[in-house]
């Protein structure tokens, strides 16, 4: 495992505004700040390449924030450095983008530099929902972003959708899903809205008119069914893909494989240790020291991540990784929840059903401990 290829994650912490539900680290950038940030990312990659002595990477992901805000030049500069340091042969290289403005020139440049996958923040195809979400683009602008991406030669495109947002109905959700089909994307990430404490939403919880627990659950199931109908097979709690278009990078997280994350608030798992760079752009630029989060890759962690996937936890996977099958108390516990429709067990392992995914925060410990 520790000799396999790494995933590289670059957190681009710039946004031109803060969405009221988002608690990812981001701020407004200036040219100077973005230049300094770019240099810091590159020197950080260089540092790790030295430490890891020639280990390669086969996926790279520019996440954010809004990676398109740093511009193609800086993004390509980081990408070139990464290629020089980690090889990136046959790599899946993804950039997240948020709609708005003319993205076509950006797409063309990064495509030429080797970015081969895009993840576009559509969130909803309904302008009312977008407004209530505090997004700074319309559905029409988002559709244009997809068209521009295709025109620039991208085929592997993912769309983000949000579930259980204010004003959403099963009908409006189906229309957003249908838009994904129509736009020709290969992959959809559909996230249930989570109200985080330190966000505008979190502080104004009482003022929100969010669907209740039962309605939210129904919307989730509806999204799963609808996306499946459109040819997007579910492979993780919130991720759906056409055949051959699962996100290789994200699968590394869920398979408990190793990755290096650089940039403020980026997380890493390398040589059995988990660590992260703290939030705070200046701190990252000036110091660039990571914070240790302790050991990783134990059975609990492995199982918890595997159970996010539709492939679930298998004896084969456990044998390969830990030299033993799924512990019997875990298998028995999983069996106990099958009748309630939360798990699905087979000869060589088990997985959570959609109903199980919906309560996985509770189901996971119930099965594991």
């Amino acid at each position: 495992m520790s000799n396999g290829n790494l995933g590289l994650y670059v957190h681009v912490p710039f946004c031109d505004g803060k969405c009221p539900y988002c608690d990812f680290y981001s701020l407004r950038g200036t040219d100077e700040l973005m230049d300094a940030y770019t240099e810091a990312v590159i020197s950080c990659l260089r540092h790790w390449a030295g430490v890891l002595g020639g280990r390669g990477a086969d996926t790279m992901y520019f996440g954010g924030g809004t990676p398109n805000l740093i511009g193609a030049g800086r993004l390509i500069k980081i990408l070139s450095a990464a290629r020089e340091l980690f090889g990136l042969e046959n790599a899946e290289i993804t950039a997240e983008v948020n709609p708005g403005g003319d993205l076509y020139p950006f797409f063309r440049e990064i495509k030429a530099a080797g970015v081969n996958r895009l993840s576009v923040g559509l969130q909803s195809a309904n302008d009312g929902e977008l407004l209530l979400l505090g997004r700074r683009h319309t559905a029409e602008q988002a559709f244009k972003a997809f068209a521009d991406a295709k025109r620039a030669g991208f085929d592997n495109i993912s769309a983000d959708l949000m579930l259980a947002v204010q004003g959403q109905t099963e009908e409006s959700l189906c229309r957003s899903a249908a838009a994904c089909g129509r736009l020709g994307v290969r992959h959809v990430s559909a996230y249930l809205l989570q109200v985080e404490p330190h966000t505008v939403y979190g502080k104004n919880r009482a003022g929100l008119r969010l669907p209740d627990e039962d309605t939210a659950a129904a919307l989730y199931i509806c999204a799963c069914v609808e996306l499946e109908k459109l040819g997007f097979g579910q492979y993780e709690i919130s991720n759906f893909a056409q055949k051959g278009f699962k996100s290789r990078h994200n699968l590394k997280y869920w398979h408990c494989e190793e990755y290096l994350g650089v940039g403020p608030s980026a997380h890493s798992f390398i040589n059995g240790r988990r660590f992260h760079y703290p939030r705070g752009l200046r701190l990252f630029i000036e110091k660039g020291t990571a914070q240790d989060d302790g050991g990783g890759g134990g059975f609990d962690e492995f199982a918890m991540l595997a159970l996010r996937l539709t492939e679930g936890l298998s004896d084969g996977g456990c044998l390969a990784r830990f030299g033993r099958k799924i512990p019997s108390h875990v298998a028995d516990a999983a069996k106990a929840y099958e009748k309630a429709g939360l798990t699905s067990c087979s000869a060589g392992g088990f997985r959570f059903t959609r109903k199980g995914f919906l309560v996985s925060n509770i189901l996971t410990p119930a099965v594991l401990f």
Binding site: Y9, A217, W254, G261, D300, S360, F369
Partner: protein, 602 residues
């Protein structure tokens, strides 16, 4: 000059909670310069945290003061504090038996309360000279003349001389002191007779062992004498005796008839020196003990369990330590299928139970789960034998019960007349039988009911408080047992009986309580991964049912950007949290669920 004994005044202060007993005691300490001003902490006599917070005295204390009276003589004042709560009536009666006089403090704005009256009756039954005092005259709502009339009409003692004071400001406290000198008779007793002393309080000291507070009735005792406890039979050698001053112990080497003081004799636990017992000398014992001794009789029982099963030994240690100082607390090991290992504990009453629970939590930092309180039921079986049941778990099969009896109390509730309706309603709900009703004055009423004890121990005080905005006061005493249609209510969660939630109650109350309990449980059991039925049963018949719906959504949708720390933290927290839940079959029941059924006021 007066002789020694003629200069002694033994007295106590009787007052309702908050009427200013401790404040008055503080002023007396000040006035007699017993405490240097800089050490004067408010309410020095109430030295347990709990007492200070609740403004009540839980245990009696006594202090010896020297008062220089206007007649030019110095008097020895033995101020014996009394517990102010009905749970401790017996302790009160023993404290009173150690006195010749009682200062009755009545709040000038609130008037006489139920407990004041009960304790005043105890005092006059004990033959004490009662000195009424009207306190808090500094308050805007004070009506001293009205209260003066109330004392005369309700209690039936002359109050024309009653000083109007403000203990808080110190106003007229000197007058109270002079009245004590004038009206409280000096103690009697025969110094030549065999030694005989009444234990009215005791406490455990880490260095001296149990220190007993005594009132010497006859004879004398010296350091080195061998004393005998007449009821429990124990014999001990006196290591120290003397007077308890406000801030220190003053050794005297001996105590003689009429005096109040303390004796230490390497006694290991307070149960060897029980309140009410008579101390005499082993070498020259008294023929008869003093009247009135009664071993502590627990009336209320409940199970106490550690929230974390691993803390069972800690709980045992804590109870052991509490018992060193509290002879009326009883406990024995008990096991529950739902709660594991714990103890069945017996208490004098509800307040006593709450005090013990709070002390376990605060002083011993234990997280505990208590089960519903129970009284002692007397059950006659079909084979003619009689059993006493204080634990629902031991309740016999209904087919084997010939006759069931429950304890009944005689209860007085003092209330402003506007709340009489509410109180009668409450008492009817609680199966009370109306006896009579008397006007204390134009505004206040004494509502007299017969109430089953098991209705009182079950959040009656809270209910009374909420229905009278805290203006009513309650006093009760056990009257006897009466036949009753009792049933055992069982709670089933997910089809399994939860023994810790069972309780015994009157048949007529079963439906309402079953419904309320099921609702409370439903609110306090978090949604689980599957639907959980909650059923309440009497004799196998389901009389109430609720369902905890299955949870629908609890998921971290985004586990992403490589940041799995949140998900991991959540998982670790849940691993911990599971230890705090009680696993019942496949249902996790939080501690709050067990506690919620104790609060059932509709």
């Amino acid at each position: 000059m007066l002789s020694g004994r003629e200069r002694i005044r033994n007295f106590c202060i009787i007052a309702h909670i908050d009427h200013g007993k401790s404040t008055l005691a503080d002023r007396m300490l000040e006035l007699t310069k017993s405490v240097p001003i800089r050490e004067m902490e408010n309410q020095i006599l109430d030295d347990m945290d709990l007492e200070r917070e609740r403004g009540i005295t839980i245990k009696a204390h006594a202090v010896t003061l020297v008062y220089s009276a206007k007649d030019g003589c110095d008097y020895i004042f033995n101020l014996i504090d009394t517990p102010g709560h009905v749970d401790f009536n017996y302790e009160v009666s023993r404290s009173l038996a150690a006195c010749e006089g009682a200062v009755l403090v009545v709040d000038a704005s609130q008037g006489i309360e139920a407990q004041t009256l009960a304790n005043t009756y105890l005092a006059s039954d004990a033959g004490l000279e009662i000195i009424p005092v009207i306190n808090k005259i500094d308050l805007p709502g004070a009506q001293p003349e009205k209260v003066r009339g109330e004392i005369e009409d309700v209690i039936g003692i002359p109050a024309d001389e009653a000083p109007c004071i403000s203990a808080k400001l110190g106003t007229n406290v000197g007058k109270v002191m002079e009245q004590i000198v004038k009206h409280v008779p000096p103690p009697g007793g025969d110094e030549a007779a065999p030694f005989k002393a009444l234990i009215f309080d005791s406490y455990y000291d880490d260095y001296k062992g149990v220190v007993i507070h005594v009132r010497v009735m006859d004879g004398r005792v010296k350091t080195g004498d061998v004393i005998r406890m007449m009821a429990t039979g124990g014999e001990f050698t006196v290591t120290e005796c003397g007077y308890m001053r406000a801030t220190h112990f003053e050794p005297s080497g001996e105590l003689s008839a009429g005096e109040v003081g303390v004796i230490a004799a390497s006694i290991k636990a307070v149960r060897q020196a029980r309140v009410g017992d008579t101390v005499t000398l082993s070498s020259n014992p008294a023929k008869e003990p003093l009247p009135g001794y009664r071993p502590a009789q627990p009336m209320v029982f409940c199970g106490i369990y550690p929230a974390d099963g691993a803390k069972y030994p800690d709980l045992r240690d804590a109870l052991d330590k509490l018992q060193l100082n509290d002879a009326s607390l009883t406990f024995e090991p008990e096991t529950s299928a739902a709660l594991g290992f714990g103890f069945r504990c017996g208490f004098l009453g509800l307040l006593h139970m709450e005090i013990v629970q709070e002390r376990l939590e605060r002083e011993y930092l234990l997280d505990i789960i208590t089960t519903a309180p129970s009284v002692i039921y007397k059950i006659t079986l079909t084979d003619g034998t009689t059993v006493s049941i204080d634990n629902p778990t031991n309740y016999p099969d209904p087919s084997k019960i010939a006759r069931a009896e429950e304890p009944i109390t005689d209860a007085h509730i003092f209330t402003p007349k506007d709340y009489v309706g509410n109180i009668m309603e409450l008492c009817q709900e609680r199966r009370g039988t109306f006896i009579d009703m008397n006007y204390i004055d134009a505004d206040r009423v004494d509502v007299h009911y017969e109430l089953p004890l098991n209705e009182i121990i079950y959040d009656f005080f809270d209910a009374l408080k909420s229905r009278t905005r805290g203006y009513a006061s309650l006093d009760y005493e056990l009257k006897g047992y009466r036949e009753s249609r009792l049933v055992k209510l069982d709670i089933l969660i997910n089809g399994e009986t939860v023994d810790a939630l069972s309780f015994i109650l009157h048949e007529d109350r079963a439906y309402a309580k079953a419904r309320k309990m099921a609702q409370n449980l439903k609110e306090n059991i978090p949604r689980q991964l599957f639907e959980v039925p909650i059923q309440a049963c009497v004799g196998g018949r389901i009389i109430a049912r609720e369902t905890v719906k299955a949870m629908r959504k609890d998921v971290l949708a985004k586990c992403y950007g490589g940041d799995i720390s949140r998900k991991k933290k959540l998982l670790e927290k849940q691993k911990e949290g599971k230890k705090r839940m009680r696993k019942l079959g496949s249902v996790d029941i939080p501690q709050e669920a067990f506690m919620s059924v104790l609060k059932l006021d509709e």
